[in-house]
Symmetry: C2
Subunit: 316 residues, 2 copies
Amino acid sequence: MSAPRTVAELGEFGLIERIARGLPSPPDGEIWSGDDAAVLPRPPGDLVVSTDVLVEDVDFSTSWASGADVGWKAVAANLSDLAAMGAFPWRAVATLALPSTTSIEFVDRVIEGIVAAASVHQLGLVGGDISRADKIVLGLTVLGLVEGPVVARSGAREGDGIYVTGRLGGARAGLDILRGASDVSEEHRDALVARQLRPTARVQEGGALRRAGATAMIDVSDGLIADLTHLLDASGLGCRLDPDLVPVDDGVPDPGYALYGGEDLELLFTMPPGREAAAESVGATRIGVSAREGRSLGDIAFEDLEGAGWDHLRGR
Amino acid sequence: MSAPRTVAELGEFGLIERIARGLPSPPDGEIWSGDDAAVLPRPPGDLVVSTDVLVEDVDFSTSWASGADVGWKAVAANLSDLAAMGAFPWRAVATLALPSTTSIEFVDRVIEGIVAAASVHQLGLVGGDISRADKIVLGLTVLGLVEGPVVARSGAREGDGIYVTGRLGGARAGLDILRGASDVSEEHRDALVARQLRPTARVQEGGALRRAGATAMIDVSDGLIADLTHLLDASGLGCRLDPDLVPVDDGVPDPGYALYGGEDLELLFTMPPGREAAAESVGATRIGVSAREGRSLGDIAFEDLEGAGWDHLRGR
């Protein structure tokens, strides 16, 4: 008999064993895979929990993302949610639903991507579940730790500065390139593709901003305007944004991508007046100020902006 | 404009808001839905984590399971995994991938089923994520609490009695009925269908058995023989099972269902000699004894048994 090539040939329990063999061993006193559930010690702080599901042909395509890209991005998206609360990664569980014809090689690469992204932040993958589906569905739940109050979306106050880490628009431009767009200069293509496939969650920045007194925070996953709207809704505030201050990734062909593109996994936050230095110390840019009412980007009210954030159920 | 009927008409954020409105409020100091991640206080004991994914047309069919049935069963299956470690339910997160044509009514019922099963055990649903897919995929991650050592699969010792709670085979017989089988007497049909659609995790029994000194434990999700094999593999032992002692649900048409059927969510465990009373106090039945080597059911060696447990990737 030749070596199994698809997950159906290997079988559920064979696949679970294969995955478990490739994972790091748990510290003393913890049980990771191989039992009914994972066992973790009493954590040293409060817990922060994030969960995400990525679906083939909705959130990624195997025509342009490798298994390792998919695994990496699932971890990064969850860690970005933790970072937006000011929490640090601790432990994670994953679920994988797969067509029975999926190659074992592909699954190996997904796990490799998860472990690679996790190990950057000392995140332990402690368990999971496998089932069958027509399309690949990867679910990830991450537990984070925080000592002291988190940074919620709702804490911004009138007059706080509005800041964003890094630059925006690159993830959307990278998606265009992966789908065949050619209007991006050669020198920026690799960096923009990496923004889409291998984003980095702003874990250290999120923790530092919590300690530095950020009043509200969210990660840019749906797009700057959409995510700022979530933050301002939760805080009951308006804003004045300066479009010329919004930092845009080099090579992004359409400046609208920085406003509506999403998936950049940068942190969008507010900081009281006088704390500018703390925001700048993590490389963040001031893009505006919160206001009692009215939301505008330069001269344009938010409700007159043409772009929209991504909606998973509508697909736009 | 008429009221939205499908999830695409309502949109991702509308659906999330609708779900959040129907959930209980968090206790002081916790953040459940509405932010980047949920925030939980430092738990009072060690953590036990279980995750499961249920896929339409693999794990359930909407032709015979309602949304509430699907939500209920996802919770029960996870709580059964916690129970098998001797842990008690605490908090949970859910992910739901849905066709854009799914009715809002169906989603309401899924959440209703999750909340109904959760509230029996004071389990709080603290967050989640939504995406689109061709088939319904429900993922659930449950956090449990345990004070003191868990009951692993690996702790059985030679000569320990082998026990199972309740009776077996009902979940598989219920599936037959839902698929149109007619060889079950009218008087048992409702109870057997409930075993398939609305199983109850043995949460109290699992906690009691942990305190009473059970040496190894697993829940019967793949089938008695398959799950006992997992337990004995982990413990490095054999067994002698008495087929006449295996408790079978009333009305089950095929006694093989009690051996291979799966999904009964009963607890299969080992207890040292002299502790029979503790096992019996939770209504468990002694079905055999663990042995240094060799595994047999009556006169038949396990390797000669014809049935097999469920394998998600092979679909048998």
